[in-house]
Amino acid sequence: MERFQPWWGDFELAPGSAGRWAIGPLRLWVEHHPREWRIAYRNDGDPRDDSSRVDTGLPLGQADTEATVARYSLGETGTRLTIAPLLADRPVVSRPEVPLFVPPQQSITLYVSSPLWLQLRGGAEAVRLREMPIVRPSDTWSGPLIEEGGLCYHSSTLALTSLDGFPFSPWRAVTPIRFTNRAEDTVAVERLSLPVPYLALFQAPDGTLWTQAVKLEHRADAALSLVELGSDAPAEAGKALRLARARSRADRGLLAKAFGSLFGLRRGDDDVA
């Protein structure tokens, strides 16, 4: 049974008609005027809203008066509108509300979810019109204050260790992180910095969204090391369909570096004692 009705895919909007998408806190209206696509949106809804709804074939003039509007003019007259979900364009950092400790020689799977972007393409040639976050996450900085390149998004996530009662959302993708602590000490997971631009997006048969699983190891002598980053959907997603490729490609060394800082780890469990 489908948990969510997909809000993405190809839609037919004849000239003179409009569509409305309600995806969590985002309200999006797309109107097809002659040789013009008009996109209106506002994303100031409740950030805890996990519903989604699509209405097409509506008359023009549906958009909210307070919505931000942009017009895109195309030379062709195709009626197809494509809406595609994407992962964020920068790493997403989250901090578990309660620190998580992993004792030595334990293997766990952490499920973290990260917010999605959407891309609108119009016409028969699927010309890229616009890309926007469903919710604009807060900026955050990762790394030293004087160097370039540490800008990330911040997102709250529960980082659950089981899928029972996992808060699936139609606008968040779940990444399983399989972590093994091969060191002698207990380590604390204080911070998660997920380099989502290197991950692909999949749709499970029940409509939930996933990225491939990330397999990491922590050894006593080294920092976190990337053991495996598959190219397929995780086993949890079942027979999944790939919706989007990774935004960025990288060789093994760069991936190892990006995922090597995925956890903000701290050795020992002094705080527990």
């Binding site: 950092v93 604009r136 996450p137 807060s138 900026d139 955050t140 900085w141 990762s142 204050l145 004087i146 160097e147 370039e148 390149g149 540490g150 800008l151 911040h154």
Partner: protein, 270 residues
């Protein structure tokens, strides 16, 4: 009339050809130098490489052209030696600017495109030349700053680091609960997407002022969003304070009178 007969005219023509060819060659060589230098150096060093090549070749062309028309260069250089002493005294400022310029370029305190602040002037660096630095201020004025002054003064480079801190100085009424004020401010910072979550916003209770409890609330932003954050977060703080009944007091003064004032009641009816 010897000027107009064969040999002299031919020399003049030769000198003119050398000058024109030299000018073309200098232009092409300087462009090539710019392209080559651009790959390895910053904008102002590229500019200097281009100019050194351009003026070097041009001066060679001029010297050759002068020789062609019969100028004795050793006499000219001898005169130039005496002239240098005189000019040296007269152009102390230019020489000082020139040397300061070389130090500025070597030191790389700022590069073309950075926004710097010196004294009351804030602007984007357009060029770093041998004698002066040219700025464009945000009200679109062209400002020339002599290198000598820049090397002696304190300069702030506003765009060197990728993130900046915005310090907000806020005063709240003495009746307010400071814990509540801190909580409201943190909620405002968390809700603003331009305000960085890390580094965490800083809350400092600065002390007891004349009319208010003074505090400092410092938030971080990416430098491109600095002004947007400055506008949005102050508006949001005001709205949050209004919504939570937190009062920003006006300056006020309580006057205590040492002795009772003699007050005489005037009965208007009498």
């Amino acid at each position: 009339m010897t000027w107009l007969n064969g040999i002299q005219f031919e020399h003049l023509l030769r000198a003119a050809i050398i000058l024109v060819a030299g000018w073309f060659f200098a232009k092409i060589a300087s462009l090539a130098a710019r392209r080559a230098a651009r790959r390895y150096t910053a904008a102002q060093e590229t500019m200097i490489a281009e100019r050194v090549v351009l003026y070097g070749i041009l001066s060679l062309a001029i010297v050759s052209a002068l020789q062609q028309v019969g100028f004795n260069l050793s006499v000219l250089l001898g005169a130039a030696g005496i002239l240098t002493v005189a000019v040296g005294f007269a152009s102390q400022t230019s020489a000082s600017n020139l040397i300061s310029g070389l130090f500025l370029i070597g030191e790389r305190a700022f590069v073309v495109g950075d926004v710097i602040k010196m004294g009351n002037t804030v602007g984007e660096v357009l060029s770093i030349d041998l004698l002066s630095v040219k700025l464009r201020t945000f009200d679109n004025l062209y400002v020339r700053m002599p290198n000598e002054i820049l090397i002696k003064s304190e300069i702030s480079n506003l765009t060197r680091f990728p993130i900046r801190r915005l310090d907000l100085l806020i005063g709240v009424n003495y009746k307010e609960d400071m814990v509540k004020v801190q909580r409201v401010l943190m909620q405002v910072a968390d809700a603003n997407p331009l305000c960085l979550i890390e580094p965490r916003p800083l809350f400092i209770f600065n002390g007891f002022g004349e009319s208010s409890m003074d505090l400092q609330f410092s938030v971080w932003a990416v430098r491109e969003n600095f002004l947007d954050l400055k506008n949005s977060i102050q508006r949001e703080i005001k709205e949050a304070f209004d919504a939570n009944d937190i009062d920003i007091p006006y300056p006020q003064r309580t006057v205590h009178v040492a002795e009772p004032l003699p007050v005489r009641v005037v009965d208007k009816t009498s």
